[in-house]
């Protein structure tokens, strides 16, 4: 930190110009390097390693039989029934979770943006689902859905909506949707908070001008509120899409992928293949495939929606 201290105590004119210039050039890199090195070591190195493993027959308990196989693992994935099942579930998973979270978050944010007593408290409470660890949420909802003691079945039975307990998580027709509901509950506060921040940056005068012009509430929402928060929405949807797509913790805790493959998503399948079956080659190739797909979605999204927002 010697050079840093010196530049602080002396003005640059007191330095020989070349040394000062050098110090100025090097300093930012020096300051950045710890973060960059850590990122390289814990993000980029494992990424490269995964890509390398995906091209090999890499089964952990056969350390002497690791061999280069080119794209074999990728072709195997395309002929793997479970890959397609998982892909279908991943599409449903993202396609339902994100819009539900967005909608619920939007409604919550609009409500919280109204004036009412105890508003700060309500705003603090709404963050709870987001602040709870996923494992706690998973275990909590397993109890809610429990077919013998669960509150959901009890409630629906008392309301006479169902005649017999439904094993929500043990029935392949409902398991995935039950977990999607859980994740929606967990993730909507993120949207609510982001959108609320966006709402507060819209000047009041816009609404006043609009109401003087006789614009209805709906038109105000459509022409002022939505454009006002569109930037926030684009970013929030992008971030959540990536997080939700990769999130396996809640699924893992609630069903472990079961019953059968009913709640397998691609990242979960990759995880099970690598961590449980110890087939790191195939697991990595699934992870690499999914990364490429997700990257494609993100690029298309930014091109289409990002442009619209401008």
């Amino acid at each position: 930190m010697l050079s840093g201290d010196m530049t602080m105590t002396m003005t640059s004119s007191e330095w020989p110009s070349s040394r000062a210039a050098l110090a100025k050039r090097v300093l930012p890199y020096a300051l950045l390097s710890p973060a960059v090195i850590v990122t390289l070591a814990i993000v980029f190195f494992p990424m490269l390693q995964a890509a390398w493993m995906s091209l090999h027959d890499y089964i952990l308990w056969k350390p002497n039989a690791i061999s280069f196989v080119g794209l074999k693992n990728f072709f195997a994935a395309f002929h793997d029934e479970v890959f397609w099942i998982s892909l279908k579930h991943t599409v449903i998973w993202i396609g339902l979770t994100i819009p539900s979270q967005l909608l619920l978050g939007l409604v919550t944010a609009l409500l919280l943006n109204q004036e009412f007593p105890w508003r700060p408290l309500a705003r603090a409470l709404i963050i709870i689902p987001w602040a709870l660890p996923s494992v706690v949420i998973g275990l909590m909802w397993v109890w809610i859905y429990d077919s013998n003691y669960g509150i959901l079945n009890d409630f629906l039975l008392r309301m006479n909506i169902i005649q017999d307990s439904v094993p929500w998580l043990a029935d392949p027709d409902t398991a995935l949707y039950a977990i999607i509901l859980t994740l929606t509950w967990q993730g909507f506060p993120f949207f609510a908070v982001m959108i609320l921040a966006g709402l507060q940056s819209i000047p009041r005068s816009y609404y006043e001008a609009a109401s003087i012009d006789g614009a209805s509430k709906w038109r105000q929402f459509w022409h002022i509120t939505l454009p006002g928060i569109s930037g926030v929405l684009v970013t929030a949807v992008l971030l959540r899409t990536i997080w939700v797509a990769n999130s396996i913790d809640v699924i893992y805790v609630m069903t472990g992928g079961g019953p059968g493959y009913a709640t397998y998503t691609l990242p979960l399948y990759a995880f099970v293949k690598a961590r449980t079956n110890l087939d790191f080659g195939y697991g990595s190739s699934l992870a690499v495939l999914f990364t490429i797909m997700l990257l494609g979605i993100v690029v298309v999204y930014l091109r289409k929606v990002g442009k619209g927002a401008d």
Partner: protein
Amino acid sequence: MKKSLSVAALAAAMMICGAAANAEDTVRFWYHFDNADNPMADLVAKFEAKNPGIKIKAENIPWNSYYDNLYTSIIAGNAPDAAMVKMHAQPRLVEMGALEPIDDRIAAWDGASDIQANLFDLTKGPDGKQYYLPVQYVVLYLYYRADMFKELGLEPPKTCDDFRNAAIKLTRDTNGDGRNNVYGFGFRGGKGGHDHWGSLVLSREGVSFDKSGLTSDAGVAGTQFVVDLFQKDKVFPPSAPNDGFKEVTGAFKAGTTAMTIHHIGSANDMVAALGDKVSATTVPECGGGRWTSFGDESTAVFSSAKSKDAAWKWIAFLSSAGNNKEFNESTGQLPVTKTDSANWTLHPKRFVDATIESLPFAHMLPNRPETSDFVNTEWPVNMQRALTGEITAKEMNEKIDKLFNK
């Protein structure tokens, strides 16, 4: 820069110190106990007092990821010096070259003659060498609610037909709300449930993991029997496809199920919840034979251990009379030494009897590398799909046959 360098240097120094502390005569031992408080501490203290030159670092590794952690630690070069291990892991560990043969050490060990007769044969390695030293064992049997059987005038089931009839009668509505709240049998459809399935399927004549053993008519009929119990007779709780150990024992203790299959490890818990209302018998005879699971647990010395002598001393200590009793009082399983078995009083007699009566037809899963995948993914996934009607019983058996006989 200098600061970050010095931090790095400090970290490196700490790692070296850590490695040094692990050197010579410290034995890192991995084990898994369900018991949350650490009963290992007493045994460690006792051992260290007797062997002043050796330090034991015993780590309780969570069961759900025990083997994931073990395999990855071996590959990462950070394996423990000794660990608790089960038979299904042995083929892989041998293939990885991770285990140290202990034939010579056993031959020179006084305690060897006190180990129950056939346990060394049962735990022999795939290459004929001995890597495992048995430390505890259990045999699975049928738990049943004696009070419910009596109330309905039923006898403990001797055959699969008895079993089905009893399960159908036991499945009923006892609180008068028009819905069944007691189910005949608590079936474990999640990981670990292959033991339940095995008793109802592998027992049948001609059924095995060998080629076409499961795809035979008898094999398919066995799996179909399980599927029908769930889909047609509805004698399992609706949550059965996902249920694991916690759910199955929980439901039995709560009175939601009238029968289930498990070993003596849960006997004291069951008695604490149900008292005399719970009893035990052997699993039923199905299709001309009986099959139940032998639950083994051994210890082994790892080939990467720095002091193999110290590691051996420690595991031999755990399997010696007296210590083995103490060990099994913590795990709730049964001791492997003749001395400790002779004066075993931890479990009520009816459960010890059921265990011993089950020994003649107790089996282990095939001693093959594929068995891990069978236990962890192939069986649970396909059983769940069969139970929920996504695949047929025949398709399930074909998948398992394919895994073992590619």
